[in-house]
Structures are given as C-alpha cells and as structure tokens.
Subunit: 177 residues, 2 copies
C-alpha cells in the first residue's frame, strides 16, 4: 500500500494513538488502513466412501490436488462460501454438516476453514479453476501431489476420524503452519 | 475505496475477466482490489463456575458487555488473536481449549470465532478498551445489556452445553445473523 484509497494521498506507516501496531495512515485525510487475515473456506465433499478433489488450473500450486475452497466474499456466510466454491470449482452441489477444521497460516495471514460436505449424487464436473475433478477413495488420495498443507492436515484427520467413528462428533481440528 | 492503493489513480468498479463479482480496479495500473470479510476472534474465559465479561469503553456498543474479542491481525494464528485480545481487554491470561462458536455476520462482512478459555487464577483488570471487567455466574449474566448477538448466541449455547455435560464435546456452534 502506497496511497490512501480514500483520498489518493501518499500513506506513511506509523502506530496510531492508542494502537500497538504500525498501520498505513494517510497524512492528508487521516484514514487508518487496517490489513487483516483472509478467510479461505471450503469443504470435504463426500459421496459414499469417496471424497471429491480438484486439480488446480490456477496458481498457486497449478496442477496439484485440493479440496474445493476459496476466498470468502463480503456479504456471505462461511457456509455459503463453502457451498459456492464447491459449485465453482467442482460443479458439485453439497449440503454442509459441521465445521471440520480450522487452520491458521500466520505467515501468509490466512485462516482456512473446511466443512464436512455431503453430495446427494455423484454429479460433478471440471469448473473453470480446475483441470480435473475426481472422486477418491482413501487409498487413492494423491498425498504426494496435494496443493496445500491445510488440505493434507484436514484429509488425514478426516480419514482418522472416519476410521474411529468420531467423524463430526468432536470440535474441529485446529492447526497452524 | 476511491483511489488505487498501489499507484494512487482513481479506481472504477467492474467485473474482472474470469470473475463473477464487481471489484475495485485501477484504470492505470490494473490492480484489482479485493475486499474480504474480517475475522473477530475472542474467547469465553472461564474461572470455576464463572465467566469473564468486559464492559466496552469504545464504539460500537459503548457501555455494553461483551466477551473479550477483537479483529485478528496479520501474522498471528486465530488462537493467538483470542489470547491477545483477552489480555488487552481484560488483562487476563487464558489457555485455550477448542473452538466453541463460529458466527457469520454477512451484513457487516465479519466472522466471529469464540474459543473456550481457561483462567488459572481469578486475575484480571480493566484493559484500555474496557470500562469494567467482571466474573459472572450464569444467573448474573447481563443478558439485556450484551453488546453483540454473536456473544449472546455463544453464551446461551455455552451454558446449555455445560448443563448437559456436552461442553467441548461437539462441533462448534454455527450461526449466522
């Protein structure tokens, strides 16, 4: 950030009165521009014993496999974001159950949320941000070519909970990278 | 947003190629300025049978009672944000257990997270953003003067789970306003 988005004047970085952290502040209009972590929201779409993964057609991690997820938009709920992203990336309709995982990524100032999702039919297709979309049984998961550590943590916990009968029975997986 | 924070030129609102929503776009440098929901993170600080509330010394909702919480900062985890906010607003040290509630507020583009927090001693004080900080038993909760609906939903679910022995035993309360 170099310029004030309100008035267009240059900004400086300093700690506002009463604050503890440096912020971008406009020297002309006084606006303080806060920058906050972004939410990435998605789901684990389940069809029978399989889950749906997307191979990314976009950067970062082009060509690698991920759960459908993306940046939450203003004006929607977290659940709406997860449903929307699953439709956009995998052309799949899901109903959501509980939040399954919450992963903080402080180095990139993101928080990733994954819900448990239920598909009512094996209906899916390649969305505009995907190269491939496919259902995987546990033993077929492409562990070596997953796009994000938050996806790997969530999937490993998911299969562990499924084997132990604890799926959806406990607080969400909490992790930080 | 009126001006590009990168180059200072005026922005226009239009849908970028490949996108589905209008964004603020710089006509000079082409920067697309996304706006995303903000995370407000806090906890339910517990000491024996009581929980710690703060009476707000700042707007919005000056003078009303709230759980310690505030905007998550870049570079921290959600848990660190909850611990930091509890120290800033109530001068209380907490250890966190699981995420207890996730409340979406799409009309103001916020997501509120509340963790279960444990105080190891009844040590607290009035932080700079608080007028009063006090421990409350369930029957003392100032239901009529709570600051935020997300706080009320979280507290009602908390006491319900505590009575039924389900506290920390299930997925987080999920709600939208």
């Amino acid at each position: 950030m170099n310029f004030c988005s309100q008035c267009g004047a240059p900004v400086v970085i300093s700690i506002p009165p009463g604050d503890t952290l440096p912020r971008h502040i406009c020297e002309r209009c006084g606006a303080i521009h806060y920058r906050n972590p972004k939410l990435v929201v998605g789901c684990i779409p389940q069809w029978q014993e399989k889950i749906l993964l997307c191979r990314r057609a976009i950067e970062p991690r082009h060509g690698l496999w991920t759960l459908p997820a993306g940046f939450m938009e203003n004006g929607e709920t977290a659940e709406q974001a997860a449903i929307r992203e699953t439709m956009e990336e995998a052309c799949a309709e899901v109903e959501l159950d509980d939040l399954f995982s919450l992963i903080s990524l402080p180095r990139i100032s993101q928080v990733h949320l994954f819900y448990l999702g239920r598909m009512n039919a094996p209906v899916y297709a390649v969305g505009s941000e995907s190269l491939e979309v496919e259902l995987f049984a546990e033993e077929q998961i492409p562990w070596d070519t997953l796009a994000f550590s938050s996806v790997e943590v969530s999937l490993r916990a998911y299969f562990k909970d499924r084997r132990s009968g604890m799926l959806g029975q406990r607080p969400p997986v909490s992790f930080a990278f």
